[in-house]
């Protein structure tokens, strides 16, 4: 291993990156842009759901029922409709996601002690949102029913309100959300996006960096010289790894300052783990660069093999345990899964090396494997 030659390549590469406007943007601006675009755009909170009401009863009690929805931050009231036929076009146009139909004699039946049906029409196109929405509707409905019962009991038996409540709900559920007390999705999304951005951008840089040289023909300077392939690979990729190590810090700051995510864990440990992850993902770029010939192909292939595992097989959107067995196996084959455990663990749960060292070890193994294959497959005397 000759340090001089390696440094020569690294220094040349560094100057090219900082002087080439496109590469500079890709190295330093693109990660922040991705973080911003996805951070603001990929909110999983279901709030402000537009809804309409068809109230055939139009009595104080029916209006009270509707009032439970309009007062909630989860719903946004879009007005009353005269009859059910008007609902369909609105749902079809996605102008509203929910419609509530109150039948005639709603108040009369409730006051008479007979159950009254209420219809909720939910846009079921996106199951995750529909399920959440149904949960909200059921909860509001239950609260309204309970209230009615409490009032009835208090009046009919002359009980104090608390006693009536205790009778109505013998088992009381006490929920406490740990780690993310406000269950704000940007607390969990921001660290997850660090995982995503560091999965995507380092391989982009490394793959394009190598393929660009091959496309222009300057790779022949390397092929024709006495530099060894190990020296070239390390020298060539070191600046990109260094840039990504810098980006870890900027993304970390953005996650905390812009998206307000708390960091509860061990900072040096998280940084070290992130460096391992970045070296690992840079290795993905190295492999891509060995198998493709044009920059175009490099971009496409990198997109596919980084974005998809990071989005779908990391546990970011869907818990790993909920995946099919095949998908679960697949998820374990990609590095994002392990790094996401690390980010969530350190950011939200405050865990340190004693709990997470296994994931770092797996990432390190992964990195060694990728770079090893890269070194093995790289040749200074290709067949074409």
């Amino acid at each position: 291993m000759n340090l001089h030659r390696m440094l020569a390549v690294a220094w040349k590469e560094w100057r090219e990156v900082v002087r080439d406007r496109l590469f500079f943007t890709m190295a330093f601006i693109l990660p922040l842009m991705l973080m911003g675009v996805l951070g603001w755009g990929l909110s999983l909170d279901v709030e402000n759901i537009p809804f309409v009401v068809v109230d055939h009863d139009n009595t104080p009690l029916s209006r009270d029922y509707i009032g439970h929805y309009t007062d909630s931050r989860y719903f946004r009231f879009r007005g009353y409709l005269a009859d059910e036929h008007r609902i369909d076009p609105l749902l079809a146009d996605s102008k509203v996601r929910l419609a509530i139909v109150i039948p005639p004699r709603f108040q009369e039946r409730l006051l008479a002690g007979t159950p009254a049906p209420v219809q909720a029409l939910i846009d079921g196109v996106f199951p995750f949102r529909a399920q959440t929405l149904k949960g909200y509707v059921a909860a509001i409905n239950a609260a309204f029913s309970r209230n009615l019962l409490v009032k009835h009991l208090a009046r009919s038996r002359g009980l104090p309100r608390t006693a009536a409540e205790a009778m109505v709900q013998p088992v009381r559920l006490e929920t406490r959300y740990l780690y993310n007390q406000a269950i704000r999705s940007d607390w969990s999304m921001a660290p997850a996006l660090i995982m995503l951005v560091l999965m995507v951008t380092p391989p982009f840089l490394t793959a394009l960096g190598v393929v660009r040289e091959r496309e222009s023909g300057s790779i022949y300077n390397i092929y024709a010289s006495t530099i060894t392939k190990g020296e070239f690979i390390i020298g060539k990729l070191a600046p990109y790894a260094a840039i990504s190590c810098f980006n870890i810090l900027t993304l970390w700051i953005v996650a905390m300052q812009v998206f307000g995510a708390p960091f509860k864990g061990n900072a040096p440990f998280f940084y070290a783990a992130s460096v391992v992850y970045v070296i690992c993902t840079a290795g993905i770029g190295l492999l891509v660069s060995i198998w493709v010939r044009t920059q175009m192909a490099a971009v496409l292939l990198t997109m596919v093999i980084t974005f998809i595992p990071a989005m779908l097989y990391s546990g970011m959107l869907v818990p790993i345990q909920s995946l099919s067995p095949e998908a679960r196996l697949e998820a374990h084959l990609f590095p994002p899964l392990y790094y996401l455990r690390l980010t969530w663990g350190t950011f939200l749960k405050g865990l340190g090396p004693e709990a997470l060292w296994r994931d770092v070890a797996i990432l390190a193994l992964y990195a060694t494997l990728l770079w090893g294959i890269g070194w093995w497959r790289f040749t200074k005397r290709p067949g074409r």
């Binding site: 040349k12 100057r15 023909g217 022949y220 024709a224």
Partner: protein
């Protein structure tokens, strides 16, 4: 085999590289096969052939940057049979891949580029600075040390590439088409630098080129054609392989004479006012004179140049694409809308045509005219402004000032009607490779709005014009460059344009293909009275044009018929003397020391200009004989277009300084 007689570099010089039965496949395609080659210490060895001949493949394999599957390469005495073996040889090799400046780093400065190559080769800093200073001075790049490579001209990029390849002082340099697309002055510089290195360090060079007129620069050369070795040896030996002479005559109607002699002498071509015919050894000019209807005394005999030899060799080995007999008098001649094009008013006219890109002036006050039936050549290096000028004349690009007129209309404002009178064939022929020949023609006919019988008639005409009738159902991707080029021409001519723009139509096409292409252009001009504007960077092609404009850095520095340009050069600097000696390197040194500053080495010949050839010849003979260098001959030669171009540029530069 004839015995080897390359006096200077023959077996006496140590063998550096031996190639035996070399072959290479890319997938199912056998790109190169059965190549034998030897490189001796201290020679400049040339590889000559068109695109796809296998030059790059062979050079990359020798440089150890390409794995190969057939044959054997021995370099510095060890076989290159593994990556490890190739690595071992690399310290002593310098390799410059094809593509002007493409192997350099655009964002780095001249000095940073050199430093990078030096660091890669682990040259200690002190030594690096010394060599850098020396090489920068030699290439006259020293003033541009801090300029970013992307802001260099083509010629400077090429020289920087050479410096970077030489900085570790390799024993063998392998240069893949180093002069393609470079202006002639830079080309001269390049050869001077290479000659100097050869002289001072005994460097060996393997150089490929697509320009056959450069072949005389080599001590020995190999003609490659479609992956095979056609012939190898010194230029003199190659010429002896196809013995004969070039008969040159100036008939009243060169095209008619060409048609009259062609069936008897297939290797004939019209060059401007002249007819050149290759007569094989033993063939007498009398018969030629009779057929061409000229007096026998009007025929002059000349030594064939290497392009003639190359084509003669192809013909000898039966490797020529055989041409179908021409049916009757130029088919489709009804295409002459009589009267209209007979007038002598110019069809193409540039008046003070100028174009700026930001602060860069690509075309600078260009004026010229092209009349019907005239072939006008725009000659210049890559980046001289040729393509930009054509784009303004075809209305694709608006000029910054001045105007381009076609058939009297200003192209910046002209409507579709006038554009339909223009034919345009671009650098990268805009054919659809997945379509067949006929489908391409139909597509273009549709674009030009041709219908029914007219369409079918024009398509048949174009097929015949390009001699493609038998290939109408062939896929375009499968055609060799020459046929593709003729198809592109046919497509550009379907709508009977009166004006035809051709932007570097022949780059990458083999010499045979280029000749046939020029035959077609000549027919278009002379018979169909089309006005043709052709750009090229092949100096030798310029001779086919009726008028030539030399373009340099956006300006036209000369505009005249080729013969007049040459005559002007001879009036200015004298006749071109060619000195042949057994020891050209020593001879060159002696002559330079004696004050012949413009002496240049061409293989075994030394070229220089003299106002008094007789006296200068005597002086040279005396000088060399005093140094015990045997002089084999001193003769006067007509100058080439490159000489004209170089002197025009140098004259401009001197004016600018004064």
């Amino acid at each position: 085999m004839t015995p080897r007689d390359d006096a200077e570099h023959a077996p006496s010089a140590p063998l550096l590289c031996r190639v035996r039965g070399f072959g290479k496949r890319y997938g199912r395609l056998q790109a190169v096969k059965g190549i034998d080659l030897e490189l001796h210490q201290g020679e400049i060895h040339g590889l000559i052939g068109p695109d796809g001949a296998g030059k790059s493949t062979l050079m990359k394999a020798i440089a150890g940057v390409l794995d190969f599957d057939q044959g054997r390469i021995e370099l510095f005495g060890t076989p290159l049979d593994s990556e490890r073996a190739a690595e071992a040889a690399k310290a002593q090799i310098g390799f410059m891949p094809q593509g002007l400046g493409l192997n350099l780093y655009a964002e780095l400065s001249v000095e940073e580029n050199i430093d990078f190559f030096a660091q890669l080769r682990e040259i200690p800093p002190a030594l690096r600075e010394a060599r850098k200073a020396e090489l920068l001075a030699m290439t006259r790049l020293a003033p541009f040390r801090d300029r970013a490579m992307k802001h260099l001209s083509g010629g400077m990029k090429q020289k920087l590439g050479l410096v970077c390849t030489l900085v570790h002082q390799p024993r063998l340099v392998i240069l893949d088409e180093p002069t393609t697309g470079v202006d002639p002055v830079s080309r001269r510089d390049f050869w001077a630098i290479l000659t100097g290195l050869l002289r001072e360090r005994g460097v060996t060079a393997l150089v490929s080129t697509a320009y056959l007129d450069e072949a005389s620069r080599f001590h020995r050369l190999a003609f490659l054609h479609q992956g095979r070795m056609l012939a190898e040896g010194s230029p003199e030996r190659l010429q002896r392989l196809a013995p004969g002479h070039i008969a040159q005559l100036a008939p009243a109607d060169p095209l008619a004479a060409f048609r009259a002699v062609r069936s008897r002498w297939p290797q004939a071509e019209v060059v401007g006012p002249l007819l050149r015919v290759f007569l094989r050894e033993g063939e007498e000019p009398a018969e030629l004179a009779r057929r061409a209807v000229v007096g026998e005394e009007e025929i002059t005999l000349h030594e064939p140049d290497l392009e003639d030899t190359f084509i003669a060799l192809l013909r000898q080995r039966g490797l020529m694409e055989e041409r179908a007999e021409e049916s009757g008098s130029a088919s489709g001649d009804q295409g002459d809308p009589a009267g209209e094009t007979r007038r002598r008013e110019p069809l193409i006219e540039a008046r003070g045509l100028t174009r700026d890109f930001g602060r860069f002036r690509a075309v600078d006050h260009v004026d010229f005219q092209v009349c019907p039936g005239e072939i006008f050549g725009l000659l210049g290096a890559n980046g001289a402004g040729k393509t930009t000028a054509i784009k303004m004349l075809t209305g694709i690009l608006p000029p910054s000032s001045g105007e381009g007129r076609v058939a009297g209309a200003d192209m910046a404002r002209a409507g579709q009607a006038i554009k339909s009178r223009i034919g345009y064939m671009s650098q990268a022929f805009s054919l659809y490779e997945d379509l067949t020949v006929q489908e391409n023609l139909r597509l273009f006919a549709g674009i030009y709005g041709l219908r029914n019988r007219e369409r079918d008639r024009r398509i048949e005409w174009a097929l015949e014009l390009g001699d493609l009738t038998h290939l109408r159902r062939a896929s375009t991707a499968s055609l060799p460059m020459g046929q593709r080029q003729r198809l592109a021409l046919g497509c550009a001519l379907l709508h009977r344009p009166q004006v035809l723009f051709l932007d570097e139509p022949t780059s990458g096409v083999d010499p045979v293909g280029r000749r046939r292409f020029w035959e077609i252009l000549l027919r278009l001009a002379r018979i169909e009275r089309v006005a043709l504007l052709v750009t090229t960077h092949y100096m030798s092609e310029a001779e086919h044009c009726d008028r030539i404009a030399l373009m340099y850095a956006g300006r036209i520095i000369a505009d005249a018929p080729p013969a007049e340009l040459k005559a002007r050069l001879e009036r200015r600097v004298g006749r071109l003397l060619s000195v042949v000696t057994a020891e050209p390197l020593r001879a060159l040194e002696r002559l330079e020391a004696a004050g012949f500053r413009d002496a240049a080495l061409f293989g075994r010949h030394i070229h220089l200009f003299s106002r008094d050839p007789g006296a200068t010849g005597e002086e040279i003979r005396r000088l060399l004989e005093a140094a015990h260098i045997a002089v084999e001959g001193i003769g006067v030669q007509p100058p080439g277009m490159e000489d004209v171009f170089v002197h025009e540029i140098l004259a401009r530069e001197r004016e600018a300084v004064a």
